[in-house]
């Protein structure tokens, strides 16, 4: 119902903007053009925010574009149309270097490094007198070929803005778009499902920087003048402001934000200082009281504007329950050679030895338990297997391939997928999208273009996600936000996500801890079904012995960094050493 008026409003706005030079004065036109460029900055900045990172040098990339354009156009008389390419490349290259250095670490380093980069940029353009003209800047930058009047320039900038907004609408539909959101929700979980955190964030950063550089070209050419002041810290603050004021869940957010921050002060006769103060104060207020920004307000009152986005059309196009049965494990290979082979694994925290020469094997199709008292190092072993920790020595082979020392995402891609002891889901995504992140990653890497493909071309992933969701009986909750699920359902969702990542080997870290008796039984049934239907291989860490007894073919008992017993579940449970460790000397005697 809402959709048609929304489209009508959009049509009217487009018509008004196209006709602007015919009915608006030169000054208003000028401000509109600056607002368009602000939209370019805001929209190109947003991808990084979706990934849960903020930078503080977007204005510097805009400035790099501007300065590259000014220097090349003035020194070598190259046409501004052609300069869009070196401008975007230069900004993108700087982002690549900066991102490669600092996006590998987590925490605030990236943000502070970008802050530092802005300082370096500012210091460079202010002091490299001969190249950049120092504080007085560079003037008389020519317009692009064929553009002479303001109204012609208006259409150029309008078209460039529309193109860039269109360009950034594309990732929304791709695998990458969903992955970057997943990283923003939980980078640890995304990596465990095989999504490479650093690579995705660097991609988002570089693409955004290149677009800002392109915007800088047209800014420099339109204003005809660049100086350190044109790209002061304020441009970077503003790029961030647009998404804070507008929100950044969809492209509408930064667009609205950029337009309102640029145009609202126009309605009043305010000094620049007052505008700055008000903008800054409104950032503080919005962050404290309306974290979703203007977009949140639109969502509340005119949801149709946002529903037209890809999220809805996609899920409407998928059948609710796919009948297709898709094996989440590859065909078992002939012979019973071990799928997972751990040899002499060593690791310690400081002086405490957690793994002191651990060796174990899991054969194809086997369910193996790993038990041990609290603090025996079970979770640490999982972290070593999944690449979260790097072993000091020893080897971990998956189907003959050495995976020790690989980063978590690479381990997951090679087929060893783990779940987490505490519940771990992408809170802000729907239940279905949670599973889809894993399924798409598995599907996309076998196709050309990989994560840059539109999601809808990967129908197999949708079917796989649907199937995995029905395996854990969560199909009816597919549209719910993951954060609203009860505890037990979250744990089952975690299992579905791990299955959707197409594991050759599944490592479950205390999967039934905190579940009710009924839920535990359901879990046991699910694993049994997986085992009989898909011949799946599992390494299971669990405290509840009945579960271990029912599910495992074989059990390893871990104690103070060593495997102290190995064998059939009953054998291990009756092992003298194991009983002494678990029950103490007295308990063992009583049982005997």
């Amino acid at each position: 119902m809402w959709r048609y008026p929304a489209y009508a409003a959009l049509g009217l706005l487009t018509a008004a903007l196209l006709a602007a030079p015919f009915w608006l004065g030169s000054y208003v036109l000028h401000v509109l053009m600056l607002a368009f460029l602000a939209v370019v900055l805001g929209v190109s900045y947003r991808l990084l925010l979706l990934g849960g990172q903020a930078s503080f040098c977007h204005g510097a990339f805009y400035g790099i574009g501007g300065y590259v354009t000014a220097i090349l156009a003035l020194r070598y008389q190259i046409d501004v149309w052609l300069l869009t390419v070196p401008a975007a490349l230069a900004a993108g290259f700087c982002a690549l270097v900066l991102g490669a250095i600092s996006l590998r670490t987590k925490g605030p380093y990236f943000f502070l490094m970008t802050f530092g980069f802005l300082m370096v940029f500012d210091s460079f353009v202010s002091n490299a007198q001969r190249l950049t003209g120092g504080y007085s800047g560079l003037a008389n930058i020519p317009p692009p070929f064929g553009i002479g009047t303001q109204w012609q320039f208006y259409y150029v900038i309008l078209a460039v803005t529309a193109a860039i907004v269109g360009l950034f609408a594309y990732p929304e539909r791709t695998v990458f778009g969903l992955q970057i959101r997943a990283i923003g929700q939980s980078d640890q979980l995304a990596e465990a499902l095989g999504v490479s955190r650093a690579r995705s964030l660097i991609a988002a950063f570089v693409v955004g920087a290149a677009a800002a550089g392109l915007g800088g070209t047209f800014y420099a050419s339109y204003i005809t003048f660049v100086s350190p002041n044109s790209f002061s810290m304020w441009v970077s603050i503003n790029a961030l402001t647009y998404s804070i004021v507008g929100g950044f869940d969809t492209l509408l957010g930064p667009t609205l934000g950029a337009a309102s921050v640029t145009l609202v002060p126009l309605a009043f006769d305010w000094s620049a200082e007052l505008v700055q103060t008000l903008v800054a104060a409104s950032i503080v207020a919005i962050m404290m009281f309306f974290p979703a920004g203007l977009e949140g307000i639109v969502r509340r009152f005119a949801p149709a504007l946002l529903e037209a986005g890809p999220e809805r059309t996609r899920s409407a196009g998928t059948p609710p329950h796919s009948p297709v049965q898709r094996s989440s494990a590859p065909e078992p290979s002939p012979g019973r050679q071990p799928l997972l082979e751990v040899r002499d694994l060593r690791f310690g925290f400081g002086g405490i030895r957690i793994a002191d020469g651990i060796s174990l094997e899991v054969a194809e199709g086997e369910v193996v338990g790993l038990i041990g008292p609290n603090g025996a190092g079970k979770s640490t072993i999982f972290n070593l297997l999944s690449g979260v920790l790097r072993p000091e020595s020893g080897s971990i082979r998956l189907a003959g391939e050495e995976i020790a020392g690989r980063p978590p995402a690479a381990v997951a891609r090679s087929g060893l997928v783990r779940t987490f002891q505490s519940t771990s889901v992408f809170d802000g995504l729907s239940v279905f999208d949670n599973v889809l992140v894993a399924a798409l990653r598995a599907e996309a890497e076998q196709r050309p273009l990989g994560s840059w493909r539109p999601r809808t071309t990967l129908g197999g992933a949708y079917e796989a996600a649907e199937h995995c969701l029905s395996l854990v009986r969560l199909g009816h909750l597919r549209e719910a936000k993951a954060r609203d699920l009860p505890y037990g359902a979250k744990k089952m969702l975690g299992l579905a996500m791990a299955l959707a990542a197409r594991p050759r080997m599944l490592c479950l870290d205390e999967p039934v801890t905190g579940l009710t008796g009924h839920e535990v039984q359901e879990f046991i049934d699910t694993i049994r079904r997986l085992k009989s239907e898909h011949d799946i291989t599992i390494l299971l860490v669990e405290h509840r012995m009945p579960v271990v007894m029912q599910l495992c073919d074989r059990v390893y008992a871990l104690y103070s960094g060593h495997i102290c017993a190995e064998g059939k579940p009953l054998e291990v449970a009756n092992d003298e050493t194991v009983q002494r460790i678990y029950l103490g000397e007295a308990g063992r005697k009583r049982r005997a």
């Binding site: 849960g52 990172q53 903020a54 503080f56 900066l98 250095i101 600092s102 590998r104 670490t105 925490g107 605030p108 380093y109 943000f111 502070l112 490094m113 802050f115 530092g116 980069f117 300082m119 370096v120 500012d122 210091s123 460079f124 202010s126 002091n127 603050i237 961030l240 402001t241 804070i244 200082e273 700055q276 103060t277 903008v279 800054a280 104060a281 950032i283 503080v284 962050m287 404290m288 974290p291």
Partner: protein, 283 residues
């Protein structure tokens, strides 16, 4: 001789930087807050010193050395109460919010204090000469005061109950809560300590430069270089890095150009981070 002078100047710069960086790194280490308002706190310390000396004359400076840290500590506690408290555990949003907040405060300061630069008198006038080397008496006082403060902070953190609680929260806030440490009270204590350090830095730096609402901007940037280089949250790292950055800044300023100091320092810090991604002493 020139290089000895550069080293002496570098150490006096290092003293201011250490005071600023200590407060910043404490806030980050204990509360995971990146506080861009820290520069404003330095500036308030400077204006507090101006108020004292303009009312009481030169001897008022002794009053300022106590009043400025106290006043800024109260300001910092109010900041936590009104703003930072709500951003606990949300590092990036807190950082962004604090940038905006610092802009608001700085612009308010322009309106309130006006744009005409103020001067602060010091009772420690004149210079000492050793051979050809020159060091102003005030700067010597700054270095000595900083050394005293660093030892006091060290003692506080190592040997008091509150200090031990701070270290506990730094290592694991959740576990600290479980053993009965009131993390909320502690966050106010950390803000107060951090504010006192910034206020003292402001009062100490005040006589050596003009007092203006933006006087905290450059020291803040340099302090960030220091804590990035030292490893965010590491106190030892901050102190070592303060000396490194102080010397580098002195060298660049003397041999090259003072305008390059900030940019070049960041460049050096970034180069080091490329090799050691969590700084010299970071975990």
């Amino acid at each position: 001789m020139l290089y000895t002078q550069i080293i002496i100047n570098g150490l006096t710069i290092a003293a201011y930087l250490a005071l600023m960086a200590l407060g910043l790194t404490l806030l980050f280490g204990v509360l995971r807050i990146v506080n861009f308002v820290h520069g404003v706190m330095l500036m308030l310390g400077g204006y507090a010193a101006f108020l004292c000396t303009s009312q009481l004359g030169k001897t008022g400076y002794y009053v300022a050395l106590v009043a400025a840290p106290a006043a800024v500590a109260v300001f910092a506690v109010l900041l936590n109460l009104a703003f930072f408290r709500r951003f606990t555990g949300n590092l990036l949003s807190g950082a962004v919010m604090s940038i905006a907040l610092s802009v608001v405060f700085q612009n308010l300061a322009w309106m309130w204090f006006g744009g005409d630069p103020k001067r602060v008198l010091t009772p420690f006038e004149g210079v000492y000469r050793f051979g050809g080397l020159i060091i102003s008496k005030h700067r010597l006082v700054v270095v000595l005061a900083t050394i005293a403060v660093v030892f006091a902070v060290h003692w506080f953190i190592r040997h008091t109950r509150t200090g031990r609680a701070l270290r506990a929260v730094e290592q694991n806030p959740y576990a600290a809560q479980l053993v009965g440490i009131d993390t909320s009270v502690l966050s106010y204590a950390t803000f107060a300590l951090s504010g006192a350090l910034a206020g003292l830095a402001g009062a100490l730096i005040a006589p050596t430069q003009l007092i203006l609402p933006n006087m905290g901007a450059t020291p803040l940037l340099m302090a960030f270089v220091v804590i990035i280089l030292g490893g965010m949250g590491s106190i030892t790292g901050a102190l070592v890095a303060a000396v490194v950055v102080g010397l580098a800044q002195s060298l660049i300023t003397t041999l090259w150009s003072p305008q390059l100091a900030v940019g070049a320092s960041f460049l050096i810090a970034m180069a080091i981070l490329a090799v050691r991604p969590t700084g010299l002493f970071g975990r």
